[in-house]
Symmetry: C2
Subunit: 375 residues, 2 copies
């Protein structure tokens, strides 16, 4: 009890969290400030500005929600959906299905656009869904479906969605900082992500960004968002107002932000921007290709037709023991890879190469370890 017994270190090559650089862990342990301290407000502003750069957006309302990735999903849902709204959600894995559940809890009538797990949606499919449901107010797609490793293209969808007066909403939990993702160029109206994937920050915050169309939708609400904690009409008075004060100033206290997590996110984003987005995305692509060559040389095969670079979802080979293999990787090598999720449980492994974890050292190590354990 009296000592902080540190855990044995793992090499995190699962679906997240990803390995956290020492610089970020160091920042996390900086002295705690008050959430209205001018020093903290400046750190938060800097964090939001870095998030804009990583999201490639000029959206003023870009900030980290005070919860893990799924709090970001819920934040978008409670603010953008009103009871009775029709929405179209692409469901091709666990996270599309989860968004359906979350939006239904907000009173939405969800039209699930379904595809087999591992596949993605085409422009034509979305156009047809919009024709079937012309009153849809939102079209939501998962950029990186963490349960299947499928990589959903996003270019070209916004024009289609906007032409019908709907908002284009995106889950980018497993892509932000690892895949090309151009919020403004691609016309995305609202987006959420997590810190613990390709940003290589511990879990605890969920970066979100809302564009002008989304703001207009929220401003026109007839009902309060059902969540107080995630109500953007109040959060924006804390995250956006100029000036600094503990009392009568322009910043309005809403809730106590997770101060130390903000330090860590600021540092993680600094690392992303020092590397440069383009170089970082290229590194993820190269590491994915190296892993893929190695896995396929071992006779293993990918489940999605169009795989993410950040998460590699492969079939468990005949004869291999799912749990025993993962346990040996964990116990003998200290390597975590992910089990299959949902209908993929027992059928798939998920190898993440995200952020700080996407290195030649880790690729060659996990290939060597798998060769040994599966031999």
């Amino acid at each position: 009890m009296p000592t902080s017994s540190f855990p044995a270190e793992r090499i995190l090559l699962g679906p997240g969290p990803s390995p956290v650089p020492a610089r970020v862990l160091h920042a996390l342990g900086a002295p705690t400030l008050g959430h209205l301290d001018p020093q903290y407000l400046s750190i938060m502003d800097e964090t939001c500005e870095s998030l804009r750069q990583v999201f490639q957006t000029r959206n003023a309302l870009t900030f980290p929600v005070s919860g893990t990735g799924m709090a970001g999903m819920e934040c978008l849902a409670v603010n953008l959906v009103e009871p009775g709204d029709e929405v179209i959600i692409g469901v091709n894995g666990v996270f599309g299905g989860r968004m359906k559940d979350v939006m239904e809890r907000c009173g939405a009538t969800v039209h699930a656009l379904e595809a087999p797990w591992g596949e993605v949606f085409t422009l034509e499919q979305v156009a047809a869904a919009l024709d079937r449901h012309p009153r849809a107010k939102i079209v939501a797609l998962v950029h990186a479906e963490t349960s299947t490793g499928a990589h959903q293209p996003l270019e070209g969808f916004a024009d289609l969605v906007h032409s019908k007066g709907a908002l284009f909403v995106v889950d980018a939990v497993t892509s932000l900082g690892g895949h090309e993702l151009r919020v403004d160029d691609w016309g995305i109206d609202a987006i959420y992500s997590g810190t613990q994937k390709c940003l290589s920050c511990p879990p605890g915050l969920s970066p979100v960004s809302f564009g002008e169309r989304a703001l207009a939708r929220m401003d026109a609400r007839k009902t309060k968002p059902q969540s107080w904690y995630l109500d953007v009409s109040m959060l924006r008075k804390y995250y956006l107002s100029g000036g600094v004060s503990g009392g009568g100033g322009a910043r309005v206290y809403h809730h106590t932000a997770p101060i130390n997590m903000t330090y860590a996110l600021r540092e993680a984003l600094a690392i992303v921007l020092e590397e440069g987005l383009e170089a970082r995305i290229a590194r993820h692509a190269a590491m994915h290709q190296r892993l893929r060559r190695g896995l396929e040389a071992m006779g293993l095969s990918y489940i999605p037709k169009r795989s993410l670079h950040t998460l590699n979802c492969i079939g468990i080979p005949a004869g291999a023991d799912d749990a025993a293999t993962r346990r040996r990787l964990l116990e003998d090598y200290g390597i975590e890879i992910g089990a299959g999720l949902g209908v993929m449980a027992g059928k798939a492994w998920r190898i993440g190469l995200m952020g700080h974890g996407a290195t030649i050292r880790n690729v060659d190590l996990v290939l060597a370890a798998l060769r040994n354990v599966l031999a």
Copy 2:
């Protein structure tokens, strides 16, 4: 950008966050584990067990919600309230009022039991409210009203509330670990707190505990809780199930927990239990009395009739400049105290003596600093 510029250290004597011990900051920066790693599950189990000891409860369903204190409030509300339910909430400050807002967003018909800011509620007042609203399903009180510094007694209420078939729900954000709080002995059915007050852990988690009556109420729900992120019917499968697995085992993945924050909370709770609850509560009482003597000797007076030990809410003396005084404390001394909140803005200061901050050193320092700045 490239360096983690550490903030200047503050002595946090506001309404929270409180000063975080170096041991806790050190634990916070331990290597990140996966949320299904056996090491992490063991750390989480230990954290929940320590929380039970600090809450003085045997409630199995005791765990930290993955958000700051207000996420805990919302967690209780979305799980215990169904649309149309009548609830009675004691409103004598900002946080009672906030609970009213949160529960109304869950569809509750809230009967606000009002008292002037700074006062607390008697058994007779609650009995009368229950007589007026015999269908009330919840009676909620704020143990430590952070906006006024008022200390609400809780003993004896549960029998009354239970005799009418209602649940007794408590906000203990600013009391847990600093004031006597006996969840089981006092018959509290559901309770939430924060980590950044008397536990002296950074903000980011909200400890909650649900007793048998609350579980029965949740099991009998006709509707899904409106929040997926905070849905206890799913969270309990992660926090309570025995066994450990990334796939087919008994632990069911819900969301990625804030791993490093759990390390910090475990360490903060270890410090609480090493000191001992009784000694810790006595220390908070003694430091409050010392501060009170000093403030009153300066001619300052308390706003609440029955003050918290953990938070001292005093009137701003005539002629003193609210913002300038706090700014000088911050800039010259590195001391943060709190401004007034809500109707108290510009009228009150709030001096927190919480957890690691409740020391003779801090009491004498803040008194000396105030004497100097107000001279």
